[in-house]
Subunit: 372 residues, 2 copies
């Protein structure tokens, strides 16, 4: 059916098995005689989807009854505003690690309200790494400490969970949620726009300690209060039914294929393949991320010059490898290899990278370098 | 394929022709080798969808280049907050007609900010009608006058466009957008959650005068500023691609079948059928809405007692007529007969209503009454 390998950063590739299921039942969901996109969000068949998805998410995260799953629209970008509006004050600041564009945007929304502080930033290094624990300056009375776990644009990822004492730990996991086991209990609030690792753009899953979200400021607009979503089970108004439904199927797909441990194993194998080609290329491919911050989800690298980069993108596409062009802030290439990217796709890309290097070694002014 | 007639108020029935198209191309959109739910929002195939949908919407509304179409998440409920945050001040209040739950919620968000005034309310009449022009108390220096054009829960609808002088006219048209021609040029801002007449829940279309939205308050959160959406063509962050894509197809379906005039003709025919049965029932069926405010989209009516109402819902379902139960605030029945509800569905419901009345006339304490 002429499907390509889709290395886009998000919206991104989804499991073909899930897409086929969605397609098969698209005109008549669960015997309702309606499409999932026509069904009432107050109906029994939808309720089943809603509750099952919430339960499966908590199960995957190994979280108990003290956490709640919310479905909120507006993307992670709206969370950037909701978080300081709900939790930070002029007395208790929100503390931020700035490790890329999205975490910087998160900080900026708090700054706009006069309630944000930077605990660490790697901006001067063009966000080529995340900060080490010893670099984090978190005040003990901070309202929360916020990190972006994986930085899609730069291809960096936290490989440790920051120690924050009694400060509640918040994380934007939009681009690596459910890619590997994490000790989620260390977090008070985790959120993820689903369009990278979980489903169709249009919903953010927020998983938070109930004690944190059961009561919000009365003065906030209804739709910006976490307690609106908590008290009404994310059904205060019509939720984005289709996105939640597909997320539910993807979460079941993750469980079926072994859960987070199995995802991690496969994702590590895929990332290792690509970083291996980069490291063995004698400098033909240059990774953007420093090695200890390398993302398992977004592999960013440059070629010797922009002409070769253009050629790489074009020839990759001829080989059914699509969406490989990097973000303009980093340049070069970015291979996004989320859960749903099959190993075969990454093997094909690795093979293509090797061939491309061999073919173009002599045609450029590039000089092989000793690998660092 | 066992599809039912779906009278739900939203999410609601969509054109089967559109659903079949979505299903057919679900694994490979426009030759991209990806599903529409996997495709990048920065890609050419999506750009085509985005731009075509915007253009088709403006064309259907007969609006020119001085208006802009925005796609915003969060439902109409988030618009209730964004509108006063962006446009009202303590000096220039937002003025509201309160004609049902949603318009009251819209007012409440302005009230919370201390910037809302009620221009008219029909709450004491249980929202059985919309106010007349002569009842609207709009101050000439109001920031805007806000109405909900069609009240889904109560089954009432404005059958005139309020005269507001120089005050900008704003309307929530979530439940009757594109059901009939309206002189949209009289409005400064129109918005509609799409899940009733246009597509899958998850996006609100906002159509506004460019002059109104080109510059927002710097102090507002980024995602609550209309100018964020305007300047970035609703692509500041990932839009709800799938919802927009289906809306695009539904809008094309409307154009294909004759545009708003043809929709109006068919919708009038459908509504007339049901109101006819109600009016001829000698009081067995009692409409909630007063006659001059009757909605063409949501036909609300009660039966002689709650026992009969339960029986009605159950037997309707046995006849493949689904989603007919009314909102608890009105009780009884509500038949939502949006654009996509085929005439045959309404004919079947009308026939069912006649039969149900005949069968149950004698079995109750109900006494026929002279029709008013």
């Amino acid at each position: 059916m002429n499907r390509v390998y889709n290395f886009n950063p998000g919206p991104a590739t989804l499991p073909l098995e899930v897409l086929k299921e969605v397609q098969a039942e698209f005109l008549n969901f669960d015997g309702s005689g309606m499409s999932i996109v026509e069904i009432s969000h107050r109906s029994k068949p939808y309720e089943k989807v809603h509750e099952q998805t919430k339960a499966d998410i908590l199960q995957l995260m190994n979280l108990g009854d003290d956490y709640e799953v919310l479905f909120i629209q507006g993307g992670a970008s709206l969370q950037f505003a909701m978080i300081p509006m709900n939790f930070a004050t002029k007395e208790k600041f929100g503390s931020y690690a700035v490790t890329g564009i999205f975490s910087r945007n998160a900080y900026k929304e708090a700054e706009k309200l006069g309630v944000g502080k930077i605990a660490a930033s790697t901006e001067t290094e063009n966000f080529s790494r995340v900060p080490r624990q010893d670099e984090l300056k978190i005040e003990s009375d901070a309202a929360y400490f916020h990190i972006c776990y994986n930085n899609t644009i730069y291809g960096t990822e936290f490989h440790y969970t920051p120690e924050v004492g009694d400060v509640p730990l918040f994380a934007d996991m939009s681009s690596d949620i459910f890619s590997r086991p994490v000790d989620f209990k260390k977090f008070s609030l985790i959120y993820a726009g689903v369009q990278k690792n979980l489903g169709p753009a249009g919903v953010v899953i927020v998983v938070a300690k109930k004690s944190l979200i059961e009561k919000s400021l009365e003065t906030l607009p209804t739709m910006l209060r976490y307690d609106t979503f908590y008290k009404k089970n994310s059904l205060y108004n019509t939720p984005p039914v289709f996105s939640i439904y597909v997320v539910g199927k993807v979460v079941q797909w993750i469980k079926k294929y072994g859960g987070l441990a199995a995802m991690a194993q496969r994702n590590l194998k895929k990332a290792t393949l690509l970083y291996g080609v980069i490291d063995e290329s004698e400098g033909f491919y240059k990774g953007h991320a420093q090695k200890d911050s390398r993302s398992l989800m977004n592999v960013t690298f440059r070629l010797p010059n922009e002409e070769l980069e253009k050629k790489f993108v074009a020839e990759a596409l001829e080989n059914n490898l699509s969406g490989i062009k990097g973000h303009r802030l980093v340049g070069g290439m970015r291979a996004s290899i989320y859960n749903a990217m099959p190993l075969e796709g990454v093997e094909m890309l690795a093979e293509f990278m090797r061939k491309f290097r061999r073919k173009n070694l002599s045609s450029t002014s590039y000089q092989p370098q000793a690998t660092s």
